[in-house]
Symmetry: C2
Subunit: 345 residues, 2 copies
Amino acid sequence: MARSQRVTLRDVADRLGLSANTVSRALAGKDQVSESTRALVSAEAKRLGYVPNSHARSLVSGRTMVVGLVITNPSNPFYAALISAVERQCRAAGYSVLLLVTEDSEENEERAVQQLLRFGVDGVLGVATEFRSDVWDGLSEAKIPVVQLSRDIPGRGLDFVGIDVESAIGDAVVRVAGPGVRRVWLLEEDLRVSTVAARIAGFRRALDELGIAHGHSLVLKVPTRRTSGATLPWRPDDAYALAANLITRDNHPDLVITANDYFALGVYRAIRECGLTVPDDVRVLGYGDHPFAAYLQPALTTIRLPADEAGTAAVDLLLRRIAEPDRSRTSTRLPAELIERQSTG
Amino acid sequence: MARSQRVTLRDVADRLGLSANTVSRALAGKDQVSESTRALVSAEAKRLGYVPNSHARSLVSGRTMVVGLVITNPSNPFYAALISAVERQCRAAGYSVLLLVTEDSEENEERAVQQLLRFGVDGVLGVATEFRSDVWDGLSEAKIPVVQLSRDIPGRGLDFVGIDVESAIGDAVVRVAGPGVRRVWLLEEDLRVSTVAARIAGFRRALDELGIAHGHSLVLKVPTRRTSGATLPWRPDDAYALAANLITRDNHPDLVITANDYFALGVYRAIRECGLTVPDDVRVLGYGDHPFAAYLQPALTTIRLPADEAGTAAVDLLLRRIAEPDRSRTSTRLPAELIERQSTG
DNA sequence: GCTTTTCACGTGAGCGTTAATGAGAGGACT
DNA sequence: AGTCCTCTCATTAACGCTCACGTGAAAAGC
């Protein structure tokens, strides 16, 4: 039904007494077609409403002009920004985006890779789940370029574009910790991924630089809601519950770093309810610079992530690798910017 | 290169001394294949790492198992939630999602429709830009089912799934306005879309019900940043700039409704800087129930949108229409829930 | 005048898959 | 024994497009 309706190359060709091939060449803008017939073909194609069949095209050409984008959770604002940037850059280059969501589940990730293989996408941008790292090997074997986004699985020989999380956190903590700061906490996500590891590493390095004994520091894991579906993965409530249990008026950290600004919301409340104040009693450093951060009371010092640049750079890198499959592996870590506000004094 | 590598049906068939067709039927689980050869085929296909070519399949079958998702801005948290829900529901039904972003630009929307036609997707879920409403006609002509998401363009005969914005705002304003409330403002987006119109209509209806003269009310348009790319479309700064200009200590509204919680952030600040307080001097009603709303001081009364349900329902509707193209048009408006917190007393 | 080149287009094949049809082997039946 | 099935598989033809050729006519060259 739908098929019989569709205008094909032959329809245009028959209407003009030409061959399908000529019409194809004319519309493709190739040589070996006179300008007069090209104009005729274009006009007739437009008149009939001809739309090329991308499947037929990619079946013979081997290219699809589609890029796979594998994301763990589109409701995560950072990933949402990545999606926007990636889509825009792909669109500018004439590529379409096939979106696969993994919800940080290995099973979904495997299915996603399978889908990408079936489609024979020209390239893949992916946030890896990292529980098992060989999931992506199928793409490499099929010679489909993969650029890892945000999270890096080393040793796979895959391109990577992300953020220099370790430096971002490390430098920020050093900058933000005043002379009186002795006890420092990090509220982390409970995920086994490279970004979390990098934040912890940066955190530890900062403590060393500040001469703070690791015994005075604490890395707390907030349970991550991966299966919550179409909602934000970070719940202020979870951070609040954790912090409220541990912080008392007489026993509290001097500085709390949160893995994201949403956790900071919970920490704010926990501190407030103890009768303590930010930043006089406890300093708070967020992560992500979400739009509300500047509007909290006190305004939250946080780290701005160049999601837009990362997405754009990742697409550029992918397109370059599609063009030159044999160029050497690239690993880019973009710097993040500390936005100092009132929560750190 | 990539093509010669790929394992095809023939490869599996040749290896077993069978025909490609038999292998196809065996893997498709059809009849007319003995169980013994089916097992052989499955084993060999797995051993060789056979992956079906979706383009070849859809070229002959006319189906793609792909659904197009047209979104104006993935960084908008509401749309992000929609994307998550839609993707998940599609995945559950065996469909993949092709993501097209329009940035509320008519040109992009036309290109998106063109892409969807080229791919011959089985169906489309879309947030329409609404500047020109005939952009989607091409899909209807190609008999591709379209379900409109969130924004409704009436008169096109397209299915619709969204939220009952008019009732949500109308009922909420009535509920939230106390006896002393005389002057009511609505801070709206500057977009010509049905959701904005519905909010304004609900606002006006509430004023009538409350017996508030329209002269005492005000609908303010906050400039919308559509071209800002991969960022949130709603900037608290913009709402702040507008509100700060109009609100003074002696001349202020009793109740402000904002088109989203981010605008409420700006309004909070503007009110605070006048030396006024929420809710005693000015009540504030947000929209969207973004995760930070509960953690503001005072906690923001707002309207929770069932984005997850909307996305899920939209996919269900689309799949049903794909199965039965001739069923009558459906228009679903899901109720939104008022979440009463401190900002309205 | 003829051959040679150039240009504009047509022909045929094939991309990998599925649907329709055909064909051979084996068993059940009269 | 011959006929008719049934089961299993092969053969053929699409789907719409592009690529490597082939071909004819006009233009160019001597």
